[in-house]
Symmetry: C2
């Protein structure tokens, strides 16, 4: 590959708790410390969720601001991506931190099932989040939980709702959404190339036990890896 491999690190998801794994960074200081370790090991993008004192997910802009301040200081040049995912808040709360102008933010452009519930991204909320990202100069990472989400990103870009070439992330291995299926993965890659051009960037995230498999597929196929 001529393009250097980008490694995107998700230091803290929205679900794991200290009770699951005492090493999960929860406080902002712990998050900055983990991010710096990953940055020094070669990660170039931070995908960030934040937590309340009790460890539950939140979209609190103050916490995102403190995290960004720490990362800017300790990891110069690292790309900061905030999650606007639905586990951390309801409705427009999910985008309350976008005025902080992170480099990127995640954007889910459709709905799908999760293990025990519907992951709700209603069309008007998707439109609003995309508009906030345009207003504040934040580049979206499209979280493709299903194939139609890639085509929806193309339709939104055609309508001027996304600026530039969107960065697409395939999310595979979530129960009741898209499994980690090799043929589907290959079709995802072909679809991104068809709709956004051969050089469009993309990455892939495998959930849980599928993480390493998806990283291997992604790196071999010219994509970026999410850890």
């Amino acid at each position: 590959m001529t393009v250097p491999c980008i490694i995107c690190v998700a230091i803290t998801g929205s679900l794991p708790q200290k009770s699951d794994n005492p090493a999960v960074p929860i406080t902002i200081d712990e998050q900055v410390e983990s991010t710096q370790a990953a940055f020094e090991a070669g990660a170039s993008i931070l995908h960030a969720h934040v937590r309340k004192e009790d460890g539950t997910p939140t979209s609190d802009p103050d916490r995102f601001a403190r995290l960004m301040e720490g990362v800017r200081k300790h990891c110069p040049g690292m790309i900061v991506q905030f999650s606007t995912g639905g586990r951390s808040g309801a409705g427009r709360e999910r985008g309350g931190m976008l005025p902080l102008r992170p480099d990127m933010a995640s954007l889910t452009v459709g709905s799908n099932n999760f293990p025990t519930r519907v992951y709700e991204n209603p069309p008007d909320l998707v439109q609003w989040l995309a508009a906030e990202m345009r207003t504040h100069g934040v580049k979206p990472e499209i979280e493709a939980f299903d194939l139609s989400h890639i085509l929806q990103a193309r339709a939104m870009a055609d309508r001027g709702e996304l600026e530039g070439t969107p960065y697409i992330q395939f999310v595979m291995g979530v129960k009741n959404a898209m499994p980690a299926d090799r043929d589907v993965f290959d079709f995802y890659v072909a679809t991104v190339r068809r709709l956004f051009g051969p050089d469009a960037p993309w990455c892939a995230a495998g959930i849980g036990r599928h993480q390493i498999e998806l990283n291997e597929w992604a790196i071999a196929a010219g994509g970026h890896a999410r850890t």
Copy 2:
């Protein structure tokens, strides 16, 4: 083709009203009359929604019972498929007519966006509808609004939640869900063949202006048509 082409007729969807098109059959008598005309013209499956007096959609089992009685009488041998779609009721109401033992019923196994809202099919409701269909000997038609729904049908069949080979219907052209995209259509067909075998039956429905295009694609590729 050696298999005779099956034509599936959706005489009344859940949305059109008399104010949109005075020819839309709304009363049970009108529905039976339209079904008989389609049956005599060669349709072999009826995909049925029912309406209240005021034309709004409902899941009322009494209406479904009267419709089935009329169709059994006037269209001998026609396959009756009831819709369990979310426009006609909320939660388990959607499956309240399954004890009537229609030949088939539609089953959506995931969630997705619709033009202005989320089409919610939470995992526990999907499980319950599938169990009701097994209990009452009703064959599901899987409404695939996105690619993961085809893979989810395979996972459900593997767990014994669907009996026999599911009949998959691709739904394309719904705004904010899957557009009518030829490459995706071809991958849908390849995926059904890969997961359910080369002879697995499938059909395709194009919404609105995509209806004729999808019928052409489906018939040319060896699938069945939905009008």
